[in-house]
Amino acid sequence: MLTIALPKGRLGNQVYDILKGAGYGIPAMEDIGRRLILLDEERGLKYLLVKPLDVAVYVEKGAADVGVAGKDVLEEFEPDVFEMLDLGFGKCSMCVAAPEGYKEEGGRKVRVATKFEHIARKYYSRIGRDAEFIHLNGSIELAPVMGLADVIVDIVETGTTLKENHLHVVDRFMDISARVIVNKASYRFHEEAVDTMIGRLKEARSK
């Protein structure tokens, strides 16, 4: 049996749609409710419904064979998994955003508020700018408004939240979309089933 970790929430709905399009849909996906496990005994598949941030953990540790995770999660946690397909939806960008009128002060470290500390560290290391990181778990846009940080590093989809909080994008440095990930050990024992699934998802993606 192949175990597939799916993200709950908005991304999850798009994942169920493409799974249906690829011929893997089951009626239970229409009304998941509070269930955390769905079984498709006919095809030998078990679906785990987990938080988007946890999909990569389930797959890397082998609790799930396959999963769908955002590129942001993969870049942040760098799990040792195969990243076999870009599903092409859930598109957004990782950006540096600052308050309107913000000017860089080169003489001191820039204070960066973010939920994605590892990605932010890699970004500032690459551009060679000294930075101090403030890890927040949500409402990141509030940090510069309240003087907690100079800038934020966060996911931007439409930019509406930024605009409403008088922030603007300074640098859009990473494209994000949903990716199919596979446990490296599981792949060795379920290669045919995984390759078939990837092939069908590719077809469904291009429809």
Binding site: G62, P79, F82, K184, S186, R188, F189
Partner: protein, 312 residues
Amino acid sequence: MEESDLSLLSRREQFVIEMQVLLRKAGYTRLEFSDFEEYALFERHHAFVSISHMLTFTDSFGRIQTLRPDVTLSVMKQSAFRPENEIRAYYREDVFRYSQETHEYETHEQIGAEHIVKDHSPEDLETALLAQRMLEKLDVPTVLVLSHMGYLLQNEWYRRLPEDEQECLQALISSKNQSGLETLLKRCECPANEQRKLLTVANLSGSIEHVKQAIHEGGFEKEMEEAVGRLSLVAEKLGENKKHRVVVDFSLVNPLHYYNGLVFQGFAEGCGSAVISGGRYDLLARRFMPEHEHCGAIGFALDVGELDTLWK
């Protein structure tokens, strides 16, 4: 001690003893180390072993010591001073590594085997067979995955890439991220024929026959001659054991400059990660023994902790 006394031990302890007996019977002698090693050893060879997140401390003589993240460098250090031309050594040691996932340090118990020869490179087959025999003892389906670093390291275009781009390219190959690899190759202005070759070869996985056929169809036989030739010798012999699958997969590459020829990983059904990792590391051997310009080394380590799920 009677044989039945072994049943008093945990399955993990029994396995560790079983592996040591297997290695001794194969002609390997044990090397023992302290948990500490001089940090300078790892710093000198940082191209071979990552020195980030190492646990260090200053000893009473003011020298920086570290809790060892890898045993191979210590094996090479000892071996360089030994008089024998050929060394078959094994170790059973803890290594200490930082986990990116938990942000904590973890101890891994490893059993490793190293084959070092000072006047020529040791054969791939002996070591690969030994790894297969260790996997066989697990009583679950296993897969040994083989690859060869030559298709990258002997590629002129790849060799001219800056080190950070090389690392990026290897990371994309090892995660089978074809779309990311395609983007990187374009960004680095890789010539079209090289792009086609790297995208095809990096994605090749299957039996040695399947891989040979795909390389023939792609017209890459000449460039891949050495890698495929060496892999064939090993894969065909290992493939005679029908109980355990052998797969060639060129996505298996090592991000550090440690290995230069055959690389392999062993997987056991039920374990979430590779249980065995190893390969040829002639270049490292030559750094330790510059007076032996033809020396070579090949070895692997088995991570005992990865097997715990099998025994729970």
